[in-house]
Symmetry: C2
Subunit: 104 residues, 2 copies
DNA sequence: CCAACACATAAGCACACACTTATGCGATTC
DNA sequence: GAATCGCATAAGTGTGTGCTTATGTGTTGG
């Protein structure tokens, strides 16, 4: 189940940090490691988890592998969250209803 | 960190099922167990995790404890998700920008 | 080509997690 | 007021997770 992979992937603070870093702009695994105090295999493993959760996607570039945020994963979270729209704070709720209407 | 608690709480499929059940309407722990094949202590522990993640809140009623969805947790997820608004699919993105504008 | 590089994978280990059984603790009911 | 009910907590156990070191694989530059 992909939904399970997503939440499990985000359950780790290091992986959320990696994801956040990638959200600021795609980069390769080595660049991601800079200023993060994480070993190369650990980074590779984290990226593998994020990849199978569709939170991140790779693009081979020569001997580098460029990573970037995959919108698919985020969309699935948004979809999950939308199921509980009724419980969001009232102000947000009103806007969401409007949003839904405009979305047809 | 509460953000960590939230994702870790949702990483377990049983807890997501409990949360989903509560989203359909508040109920006590025993009612939650019905049709779920889960022991009483396990349910109690799961509810404890969901509670400290602010995904669920309790309200004592006599010797029962009524549980219901806590909007705080959902709002925090929405907030987290909003940080990556730029990566949502274009159609959703346009609507989100509109939403943001209307939210001032 | 072959050495260095960027990254992935394998195997092992310490710790966290979700479960179990057993027990505790208020509240209710008879 | 004692038994029962609804739920929480304690303690122990098997499994999963994230790290490590070691090694493999594909690519590039001298």
């Amino acid at each position: 189940m992909i939904e399970n992979d997503i939440f499990r992937a985000l359950a780790d603070p290091t992986r959320r940090a990696i994801f956040e870093k990638l959200a600021a702009g795609g980069m390769n695994a080595s660049a991601l490691r800079e200023g993060m105090e994480i070993s190369q295999p650990a980074m590779s493993q984290h990226l593998s988890v994020l990849r199978s959760a569709k939170l991140v996607r790779e693009e081979r570039q020569g001997r580098f592998v460029n990573y970037e945020v995959d919108p698919d994963g985020l969309a699935l979270i948004a979809q999950w969250l939308a199921k509980y729209r009724a419980y969001w704070p009232a102000r947000i709720e009103a806007l969401k209803v409007l949003l839904k209407d405009m979305d047809q």
